[in-house]
Symmetry: C2
Subunit: 202 residues, 2 copies
DNA sequence: ATTTTTGTTAACCAAATGGTTAAACCTAAT
DNA sequence: ATTAGGTTTAACCATTTGGTTAACAAAAAT
């Protein structure tokens, strides 16, 4: 543990590490305390209980993952630009926290309603309609081949995010090293846009 | 609970339901007993402990998901056929258990080494080399555009599996109904192969 | 019919776990 | 130096949870 960190920061860093690795159900308050190098009671001094601490970590994690997706929904760029920018930026963002997507998806799966209430309170929910309309427009303009906009969006998200979700599998199963994985994901920043555009361009 | 099921079957069905929904760490033996409509002690009569019961469920789940992937690795079909068959069959398989991929991926993430030991004991591990070589051959033959074989494989797996992993998110966030999700996945059986082939065909 | 084996249950137990308490320890203002 | 504030800790508590026991019921074997 770094010396000049405040106790609260040490707790947050430790909690993030333990929650992301073990999930809400598998995480132990004692493990978080140990990881932070503090007494367990001090955890409850800073954060009333496990649920509160989890919510802080989870919403912070979600806030790291979703805004970038929303950007691609609402920005004013051209379709191809959006695809290129999204892959490049999103892979870069996830590379900093490769285990976040699986963590977040899994916790959403545990309690989807809770997620909706906690992470998108009010009307701040992402609106894919604009992007979907843009895709449809490009289809009609003959720029891209006819296809369901939602299918294209799913393809984009899938190819970008899934490798991180399956990372441990790919590493253990395909004998992929950490370095190889990094290299492959680095290539994918360009590979995915090229692949998609080749698939849809008229 | 159906009447003519054997007790062991009732337990296995209940355990599958609870484990897949809550994960190893979140599952409670009492919940499994309740779901099976039996006493908790009877659970330990049939399965020594939680770990043993979990292993049965987990290996069965893995056995449902991985052989189909291995098939596409080792079969003798043409590349385009493989892609078409894989999407069609794999989506059909997962549709029967939509929550299995997230469950399995998450548990692998919890303990990758354990997974390797339990699910691929000995040398039965999938060997993607043959498929990767086939892709490379098609590249050199000029049938498909030059690309890294591994990238193509990742794209195929991602587009097929990821929507199931993100299902709760898609439903809660995009307001996708169960019916809509089904329809979209049904379309994807043809959509993904068409998309991929359009992307790579020369 | 009776014994033996298998299946099932209520009650119980020990360990793990989230959370609390009261005292000790700083540190900065008086 | 003293005190008042927040900070940190060891010890403790209540509940949950995986697992066991001993008794009972139902088949199966004799």
């Amino acid at each position: 543990m770094v010396k000049d960190q405040t106790t609260e920061d040490k707790i947050l860093a430790a909690a993030k590490k333990v929650f992301v690795r073990k999930g809400m159900a598998g995480a132990r308050m004692q493990d978080i305390a140990d990881e932070a190098g503090i007494n367990k009671a001090l955890l409850h001094y800073y954060f009333r209980n496990k649920k509160v601490l989890f919510e802080v970590i989870f919403t912070e994690a979600a806030a790291r993952l979703f805004p970038k997706i929303n950007e691609v929904f609402s920005s004013d760029k051209s379709l191809f630009e959006k695809i290129r920018d999204f892959c490049e930026e999103y892979i870069r963002v996830i590379e900093e926290n490769p285990y976040l997507p699986l963590f977040v998806l899994n916790e959403i799966n545990q309690d989807p309603a809770y997620f909706l209430k906690k992470v998108w309170p009010g009307k701040s929910r992402p609106q894919p309609e604009k992007l979907l309309a843009q895709i449809e427009k490009e289809v009609k303009a003959g720029v891209i081949k006819p296809l369901h906009p939602l299918q294209l969006l799913l393809n984009l998200l899938s190819m970008t995010i899934f490798p991180f979700v399956a990372k441990p599998l790919l590493q253990k199963n395909f004998g992929m090293t950490e370095q190889q994985f990094r290299t492959v994901m680095e290539q994918r920043k360009k590979e995915i846009p090229a692949f998609i555009i080749a698939a849809i361009k008229r």
